[in-house]
Structures are given as C-alpha cells and as structure tokens.
C-alpha cells in the first residue's frame, strides 16, 4: 500500500473548476437548441464529463489505488444493472402486444392488417 497522499497543484484545481463552470454554461446553452432526442444524450454526456472531472481530480480517483478505482466502477456498474434490467422490462413489454415486422406469431393483442 502506498503510504503517501497526493497533493494536487492549485493551478490544476482551478483549471478543473473553470472547465466545470464552462460545461455548466454549455449544457444550459445547448438545452436551448432543438436537437430532438439528442438533447438528452448531449446533456447526459456533458454531465458524465463533469462528474468524471470532479471524481478524477477533486476526489482524487486519479491518484488512488486501483482498488478504489475498481470500487468506483463497480458502484456505477451496479447502478447500470439496475436501470438497464428494469428498463428491459418496460421497453419490451409492448413487443408482445404490438406485432413487430419480424414476428408472425400470434400476439396477445390484435394482429395487424
């Protein structure tokens, strides 16, 4: 185990802070542009970048052991599992009821045509 703690430079911290503020402005600005479903993607992407910056530099993930990194990733992975599998239910529920082009089986609901 390492026995020292990393001390970041003030300049790095201020630069990160600036980047975060800019990103906040950017995400707000972009939200006024009509991008359709891309709006949410862009907003989330920016949020992920911002969050990563905070975690990586401010929280010092960058300077920690790989074990800590593993834990961080695991936490996010589990959140992903929860959201994805829950979503898989909601997203596919209608498949049975609304016949898909590729399915010729008898649906539970009405057939098309």
């Amino acid at each position: 185990m390492t026995t020292h703690s990393h001390i970041p430079r003030v300049r790095t911290l201020v630069l990160v802070w600036l980047a975060l503020i800019c990103a906040t402005g950017m995400t707000t600005g972009v939200s006024y542009v009509e991008l359709g479903w891309m709006n949410i993607v862009v907003a989330l992407l920016i949020a992920v970048v911002k969050a990563s910056l905070v975690a990586w530099i401010f929280m010092g993930v960058r300077y920690t052991t790989s074990l800590t990194k593993l834990f961080v990733v695991a936490g996010l992975l589990w959140l992903g599992i929860m959201i994805l599998l829950t979503f898989s239910d909601y997203h596919t529920r209608s498949w049975m009821y609304q016949p898909q082009p590729w399915s010729h089986g008898p649906g539970n609901g009405p057939a098309t045509k």
């Binding site: 026995t3 703690s5 834990f71 959140l79 959201i83």
Partner: protein, 229 residues
C-alpha cells in the same frame, strides 16, 4: 507532471495520538478509512440510483407530461446553484490541500467558504421550493391540480414528486454535509489537523464532492431537458 508527495509517518510523535489501537500503521488506518469512505459512497450511488431508475421509467412512460413539468423549473436558479456547488467543490478541495500542507489559516478559510456556498445553495433551493409551493406544485401537500396543463394533471404529479424527492434527498445530504463541515471547522480551530493527520478533512471532502456529482446529474435531468417546449 511534477507531483508533490509527502510521505506520511515522518513525525511519529504526532501520529501515535491518532492511531487507533487496532491498526498496525497510520498508512493502514488511512487506507482503511479511504476504502470505507468509497464503499459508503457506493451505497449512496445506489440509494440515489433507486430514484434515478424511477425517474427514468416514468420519464420514458410520460414524455410529454414530463416536458410540461420542466417548464416550471427555474433554469436560472438551477444553473446558479450548479455553479455555486462547483465553486464549493473547488473550495473544498482547496481546504483538503491546505490541511495536507498544514496550513491552518487556509484550511479554516476554505472550510468557511465551502459552508457559505453550501448555505447559499440551500437558500436558493429554498426560494425554488417556495415558488413551487405558491404555484401549488407540491404533490400530496399542496397540489393545485396543474390547471395549465390539465391533460397531464395525473402524471405531472408523479414527476413533481420525483423532483422533490430527488432534490430533497440531495438537500438533506447538503445539510448533513454542512454539519460535518462545522465539525471539521471546530477541529481545525483546535489545531487537530496537520500534514500527518487530515483524514477526516479528506473523507468529508469526498462526501461533499459526491453530493456535488449528484447535483451535476439532477440539474440537466430535472431542469434542462425539454424545458423549452
């Protein structure tokens, strides 16, 4: 990049005071604390995760109703609050740095600044909540029926509830955080922290940044997406 590295354990006299009996070395104690804190933050991720999952489900189920709710969100206040929190994160990390460098004056200064930002966030949040209350947008307590978009009266209620639940939980974490900062402040005043012992500052710093990260996601999800329509 040149990284300043201060090996802990150069001044044994100070360490022994803070080394709890069951640890072999201060490094072990510090490692344990760090890992413990990160593990705790993981539980927080999943705690908020339950709400994020519900949010995702309902947002997808009721897209239009959702869009209608974000028209009631105050982007200016929300954006300001985001900036305030980011500033508080900066001051927090500077506080940790001050502690690492045994700079007591800076430590106290930055802790106070962080707390000021934290309080500012809560005050702004309070104004927002107040506005929602006046407009009757508080489900269960003061819900005026969503008269401007009666077609979404039902579903908007769920989404406003999620808004209050998520931001409320977040605010609660901020309050706890400010309490912890107060504790740090007292300790810093009493000269507890120095280059050899600053674990509490660092741990509470992690917590503070985590709360900031939650907001970084709440802001676009609740305020930004769909607010123009």
């Amino acid at each position: 990049m040149a990284e300043t590295v201060v090996p802990a354990g150069t001044e044994p006299a100070v360490e022994e005071v803070h080394l709890r009996h069951h640890f072999a070395t201060p490094a072990q104690q510090m490692d344990a604390a760090t890992l413990g804190m990160w593990t705790f933050l993981i539980t927080e991720v999943l705690f908020f995760g339950g709400m994020f999952a519900s949010y995702a489900v309902y947002r997808n189920m009721y897209l239009d109703a959702f869009a209608s709710t974000s028209q009631y969100m105050n982007v200016v206040l929300g954006g300001t609050n985001t900036a305030v929190l980011i500033c508080s994160s900066l001051t927090m990390v500077l506080a940790v740095r001050a502690a690492q460098l045994s700079n007591r004056r800076h430590l106290i200064l930055f802790l106070i600044l962080t707390m000021i930002f934290g309080v500012a966030f809560l005050v702004i949040k309070g104004f927002e909540y107040h506005a929602k209350w006046v407009e009757g947008l508080v489900p269960g307590l003061h819900w005026s029926g969503y008269t401007e978009h009666p077609e979404f009266a039902y579903h908007a209620q769920i989404l406003f509830f999620l808004y209050f639940c998520m931001t409320g939980m977040h605010a609660l974490h901020m309050v706890v955080g400010i309490g912890l900062l107060t504790f740090l402040l007292v300790q810093a005043y009493r000269r507890v922290f120095n280059a050899n012992y600053f674990a509490p500052v660092e741990m509470i710093g992690l917590y503070w940044h985590f709360v900031d990260i939650v907001w970084i996601f709440l802001f676009p999800l609740l305020y930004l997406i769909g607010h123009r329509r």
